[in-house]
């Protein structure tokens, strides 16, 4: 039975991020991409959003030849495209620079990221602060403020208090206070004992 257009989208390891409405992940080699694909499929299976329509059948009638999606095509219900948590998870995976992190590419890894997504208070800019830690060296409050302040807001839909006219207005002291609070809650950890303090995300 064919998947009806409009109800399902077909994904494959070669092409799955865009059909699912997820952003592209830079720096992801093919093997890691396949691992991520498998993890996402497991996640969607858990949500009951995946159907398999049987293995690819060779050829068609003798009046046409096809380039079929290799392997077994997976049909994902269109509601998966609107699934906000998956989008947040993948965005965080890229934002945290976890493309080299092996554990992130399993169902358990995605679930860990899902928990992280749920505890970050996006209205206070915590999501962007956590992501910026992986973009700066050294990962200090000043460096994070330097990269965020004045730049386009990374998550404009989050109703963050630091968003003004599409740009981030967070400053150094606000970042420092935020990081201290995140460390107290176990979301990040302090890497050294002497200022300027450096932080890393706890995964």
């Amino acid at each position: 039975m064919a998947a009806r257009s409009g109800e399902y989208v077909t994904i494959s390891p070669d092409y799955f991020l865009q059909p699912l409405g997820l952003g592209e992940l830079r720096g992801l080699p093919p093997r890691r991409r396949r691992e991520l694909y498998n993890a996402i499929v497991d996640y969607l299976h858990q949500q009951g959003l995946v159907r398999e329509f049987g293995a690819a059948v060779p050829g068609g009638t003798v009046q046409e030849v096809e380039l079929r999606v290799p392997g077994t095509p997976l049909h994902v219900h269109v509601s998966a495209i609107k699934e906000p948590q998956l989008k947040e998870i993948i965005s965080l995976l890229g934002g945290l620079g976890l493309v080299d992190h092996k554990a992130a590419f399993t169902l358990t890894g995605l679930q860990t990221l899902a928990r992280l997504v749920s505890v970050l208070k996006t209205e206070f800019g915590e999501r962007s602060v956590v992501e910026a830690l992986s973009d700066v060296k050294p990962p200090t409050a000043d460096a994070v403020a330097g990269i965020l302040h004045g730049a386009r807001c990374r998550h404009p839909g989050a109703s963050c208090r630091f968003l003004f006219d599409g740009t981030c207005t967070i400053n150094g002291p606000a970042v420092a206070t935020t990081l201290e609070d995140l460390a107290r809650r176990g979301i990040v950890r302090k890497l050294n004992a002497v200022a300027p303090y450096e932080y890393a995300v706890t995964i």
């Binding site: 064919a2 998947a3 009806r4 257009s5 409009g6 109800e7 399902y8 989208v9 077909t10 494959s12 390891p13 070669d14 092409y15 865009q18 059909p19 830079r26 720096g27 992801l28 080699p29 093919p30 093997r31 991409r33 396949r34 329509f53 690819a56 059948v57 060779p58 050829g59 068609g60 009638t61 003798v62 009046q63 046409e64 030849v65 096809e66 380039l67 079929r68 999606v69 290799p70 392997g71 095509p73 049909h75 000043d142 460096a143 403020a145 330097g146 990269i147 965020l148 302040h149 004045g150 730049a151 740009t167 400053n171 150094g172």
Partner: protein, 547 residues
């Protein structure tokens, strides 16, 4: 004028956290570098002073030709076996009069050499900028505006790293133009046209250009009509036979939601099928037409296809030819592998293929290969090549395998099995047409039924399976005797039913002059053993009166 990352910047509307203006730079690909062993004499702050001094020379030059220019200057460090290196980078193209003002940078301590280098090799960013007499120095976003020399404007910089894309060149058009109506004879000429076109490729092209050339020169319609739910990336399809000359239109249908890189691959793959396998599809279309009245003809032909044609072999052969659209035939990859050496190691031809394909394939590595990541890339290539097997489960693996096999000289049709299979099908077709044209339909059906019974005990098992999930809707025959195959009528929407509504009127496409009827109306007119095919999506086909 095109954006030049060595000369152009954008000003960010918002200041940095210290209140300084911000310039947005795009990382250039490569530039000219002065390279040093990293030491205090070429650390960032010291180097900034040295650069500003030399930019002042350009600003204060007596010649307007020297003063009137703009360019960015980059600085960064990179690890090396002997210790960290520092490099200051300028645009490659720099006229000598201005370059003379910078040349004594080779006198700074720790100087090693000059040359062209990839900017991606450096950990660093813009350090200064010169723009028609204005000198800019870049500080970190948290540094306060400098109270240094007043002739320098102090800003900070952010860097945009462009997404890596492969160099795609404009494709030379093939010679001549094919008709939109294809026969065995015209295909022969068109196939040569396509082979010549592929031979002259200098680099991969773009999807839009290939699509244009396919429609204009190869006479093949290209449509992005497959939906996002379709489990096919693309399909090469024959249209309706034109009886006056037994010509047929040809179309390629693609999933419209695919990115252009993937559409290019898919279109190239289907064109490869056209070049290699049109006779199979053409015979199939001729038989399908005969089968309206003699359905046993289709069953006989499809049984022959099942016996003599290995669909996997057809796909492999098409992939093999398709690889020429990515790595042109003119690239002598084997010779390249024999000549180049990197750090005492010669990458194999297969590894070179892997490198060429990365920027072209969706889902492949998207960073360029530099000296810094060479080891990691070599490992990735080795892993991907070792994982290739006979049943690739991704398009990436399929394309890589086909390209490697082609470059390594593996036969794309070992033992000419496909060619022999096509010959068998031609013989089967000739036999079918001999039977059908030498006796009436009922006699022909009986003869073919007997022929099929000798070859298999279950006639229904060789009945054509309807795998055309969206080509047409099949309304089965009302009543069939045991083992009997259904004849068929092919209906297309009447002019007053453009949407193909089942409640509307339909026309027999083989007798368009006859009155249109509703579906129940057709049922009344037809014998019980006739199935109805409803074709809704055939507007792509050219007017039969066209040439």
């Amino acid at each position: 004028m095109a954006f030049d990352p060595w000369r152009d910047i954008e000003e960010r509307p918002t200041a940095d956290v210290a209140g300084k203006p911000v310039d947005v730079h795009t990382r250039p690909a490569e530039g000219s570098a002065f390279v040093y062993m990293l030491n205090d004499g070429v650390a960032h702050e010291t180097m900034l002073e040295a650069i500003l001094e030399r930019l002042r020379r350009i600003r204060d030059a007596s010649s307007k030709r020297v003063r009137e220019r703009r360019f960015n200057v980059w600085y960064g460090t990179t690890p090396d076996a002997a210790g960290d290196l520092a490099a200051i980078m300028f645009p490659d193209r720099f006229d000598y009069r201005a370059w003379r003002r910078l040349q004594d940078l080779d006198g700074l301590p720790g100087y090693l050499h000059q040359g062209s280098f990839l900017v991606a090799e450096l950990d660093g960013g813009p350090i200064a900028r010169y723009d028609h007499g204005t000198i800019t120095g870049y500080l970190s976003p948290t540094a306060p505006p400098s109270d240094g020399p007043a002739d320098v404007q102090w800003r900070s910089a952010t860097v945009v790293v462009p997404a890596r894309s492969a160099e795609r060149k404009w494709m030379l058009p093939p010679s001549g133009r094919a008709s939109a109506w294809h026969t065995g004879e015209t295909w022969d000429a068109n196939r040569l046209r396509l082979l010549g076109f592929v031979w002259h490729l200098r680099a991969p092209g773009t999807y839009e250009r290939l699509r244009l050339l396919t429609e204009k020169h190869f006479g093949i319609v290209v449509r992005e009509d497959l939906g996002a739910a379709d489990s096919r990336y693309g399909v090469l399809r024959m249209g309706f036979l034109r009886w006056s000359d037994f010509a047929i239109p040809v179309g390629v249908f693609l999933r419209g939601d695919l990115p252009d890189d993937l559409k290019y691959l898919v279109l190239a793959h289907e064109l490869s099928h056209y070049a290699l396998h049109f006779p199979l599809l053409y015979l199939g279309a001729l038989v399908d037409d005969i089968a309206r009245s003699v359905p046993e003809a289709a069953a006989t032909f499809e049984a022959a296809v099942a016996t003599h044609i290995d669909h996997n072999a057809l796909e492999r052969q098409a992939d093999h030819f398709m690889s020429h659209f990515l790595i042109p035939a003119r690239y002598d990859v084997q010779r390249l592998a024999g000549v180049f050496s990197e750090m005492g190691r010669q990458p194999s031809a297969a590894e070179w293929v892997w490198r060429f394909l990365q920027p072209l394939l969706p889902g492949a590595v998207d960073e360029g290969i530099t000296w810094r990541n060479l080891e990691a890339m070599t490992t990735l290539a080795a892993e991907d090549l070792a994982a290739l097997d006979d049943a690739p489960t991704t398009l990436y693996a399929r394309v890589l395998k086909a390209a490697v096999e082609r470059v390594e000289g593996l036969e794309h049709d070992p033992g000419n099995a496909i060619a022999a299979g096509l010959d068998e099908l031609q013989a089967t077709f000739d036999e079918i047409t001999r039977i059908v044209t030498s006796m009436d339909n009922e006699e022909a059906r009986a003869v073919l039924r007997q022929r099929m019974a000798k070859e298999t005990s279950d006639i229904s098992a060789s009945s054509p399976r309807d795998m055309q999930l969206d080509r047409y809707e099949l309304l089965p025959a009302v009543a069939l005797e045991s083992g009997q195959l259904a004849r068929a009528i092919h209906l297309v929407p009447a002019a007053d039913n453009p949407g193909g509504n089942e409640a509307g009127r339909w026309v027999d496409r083989h007798h368009p002059d006859q009155p249109a009827e509703t579906i129940p109306g057709w049922r009344e007119l037809l014998y019980d053993d006739v199935a109805i095919r409803l074709y809704r999506q055939e507007a792509w086909q050219p007017d039969p009166a066209s040439t």
